[in-house]
Amino acid sequence: MASTSSEQNKKPNEAKSLSLKVKGQDEVEVFYRAKPTTQLSKLMNAYSNRHYFPVAFFFDGHQIRDEDTPESLKMKDGDEIVALIHQTGG
């Protein structure tokens, strides 16, 4: 996570980069910056590496897939992504 954020902080002056908010089930919010053409798998990997459990990401009621980009999902600056924990049980 740290690497990705620093990597993206290198180009803060790019007007196109979006700031995305990832909200967990515990209401904790994490902010990411991503270019519209960046695959969101990068963001999701960064988030789930931090949390150590499988997470499903939803945006606007739809689950985000690996190949999606902010552009393809028509995300705007400051949009909120919801991160939900995959539940298993037996």
């Binding site: 939803f58 009621g61 919801v82 539940q87 298993t88 049980g89 037996g90």
Partner: protein
Amino acid sequence: MIISIRSRFSAYFRRKQNEFEDVFLLQEKVKGFWGSLLASGGSKRSQGSLPHRCRSMGLASFKGKSLTELWFLEHTTIHAPVASKARPRFLRWGCDITYNKVEASSLFESLEDVNILNSFEGITSEERAYLDQTSTSPQTFPNLQLSLIKPRRYIVSSPSKSITPPSPVRPPSPQSDTQAPVSPPRPQQPTSPNEPTSPKHDSLQEGINKIIAQNKIILKRLVQLEATSGLLEHRVDVIEHQLFDQREKDSRFEAIEKFVSQQFPTFKPLNTGYQAESSSRTVTEEKPIEKQDELNDAPLPDPLPEPLPDQSKVEVHQEADVNDSTCSTGIARRVRRRIDRKPKEVQSPFTTGQYKKRTLTKKAVARPARTATTFINVETVKSPEPRPAPAQVAYPGRPMIDENIRMFIVDCLKKYTDNEPLGTARYFWVPLGTSGYLWVPLGTSGYRWVLMVIARFLLADNLSTARYCLVPLGTAFFCLLITLGIGRYWSVLIGTDRYRLVFLLVDELLGDIIYSVGNVHIFRSQIDELLTDQYLDNNHIDAFAILLAEKSKLCPTLYQPFIHVSSLHWYVSHVSKDSVRAANLLLMPVSKNEHWTLLVADLKSLSWTFFDSLPNPTHKAVLPDVINHLHEETGDYFESDFRSWPLTVASGVPTQKNGFDCEMFVCKYMENAILAHPLKWEELSHWQDEMPKFRAELAFALLCKTIN
């Protein structure tokens, strides 16, 4: 997923027979089919009305597409089902079935005869025309006397049996009414309008007439099948006889060879003896052709004896394939392969010489006379034109199957058959789409897990359309699921349960996502989880709820409208004022600490019910949080504050006896709870035993979604 059970056996044979390269394989299939049908018909068990039997070997096709042909063939002589409930359920999916009768406790039995009989109406018009034609004009069907010579019991007994079934006991299914006009052409309408009989009587009469008309079709078909099957059985017998002789000879040769090689280490085997024998064989085979030269005027009986050696050849050739690894010496291998030399020998000038021809004419008279008695009829029935002898079956393209995969399958089969669940011998045929089929004999007597993959369907041409095949086996729930397609087979999965034998040969084309609706994605690995008794996750349960919703839409009278709230409670966008008003139930699976429970809100009686398959009061602890969260999101849509509704824990529900089935229990709770007339929980205590079946059913349903 609507599967209509169609029995188009005879038409199927007739249509396919030209596509079958190997006559032997067809015969094996026919034999298996008739073995099962006749055995179940002749068995002393009184079970098994005619539709029951037809159903048990149901030939199903998916709606609209005939891509997938399901075929289930089995020895029923040896096998008696452990429980009729354990029949695979996909025969029932989409049918109008009511669970809510005591009589329906055996779920498979709850398939009404009406369903089956209606399915006969699904035959195409050309099939029907063919049926009518064959029944009215027996001269087109010269072997009809065979069926008359040995009439089977069920032909006599079936009409009386199947007239009774239209059971008024269960609620009339809507299908029976709607499909009545589609019923087969009735002979006449005997109820004249000016008759002063009561309308009740009329409808009764009409119903009886309808059933009789339907039974006529079945009878016609049975007679027809009788005829073909009798002949094919003859054929198979002869082939088996030949094969037996061949094997004996082989073993004798091997013994001699071993003895000689032991006695004389320098012994080099010569083929002369064998060649002499094979050449003499070819001469006898060629006789009809020669005779044909001489007797040009006579009607030709020649195509008939010819296919016979081909079949034996094919058969023995396959045997050789199987046994090749076991015979170590070169001689034995050559002995086994000498059959292959036959076609070459046929073309040798020696056999076509004048001298031979003259000397053999005498024998030639005797030989065809022997074979003609058994085979002439067969050929005329089977195909109008003689099949060209496949001299050498060449398999271009890739080899039959990757040897690693094949060995893996064989190992898995061995593992299963050694573990006794397949103790009774059985085999089944898997016809795959156009021209491929797979023959898998299972069991301990004789066969001992032989898996033969016939090369035909693995040729790249025939794999241009990916297709599946799923085969249920009798005793419990076995299914064989095969995905075919271009490319490699990605994974082979075999379920670990003793009640289940599942192959998943998942094709590359299928991709990783097996099932995808909205936010619910079932990946291939999740199917694996489902079939290998692992923990399940919210995707499974959501997918099940989606399937349930689809199913309840099919027959809205049987189910209560419900709202499913996924365990990802953040998304309740489908809950609105209208949907709440329209629904009776609100289903909320709850997952806490790796345990699934179900919370059901009865929107009419304003109460909560909590289902727990592992009864423990601590599982209730999370419920206030869940309800509060739901209230935050959707509280406005409800007329009263559901936080104050009373909550009861359902008592008497079936519970799990292991540590991994709770989600399937939740699914089944949901399925029963949404019924308009739910079954009593006390009657469902067998659920734990059937969990593997339920899991396999869910996997099947998910996979079928991708088929359609």
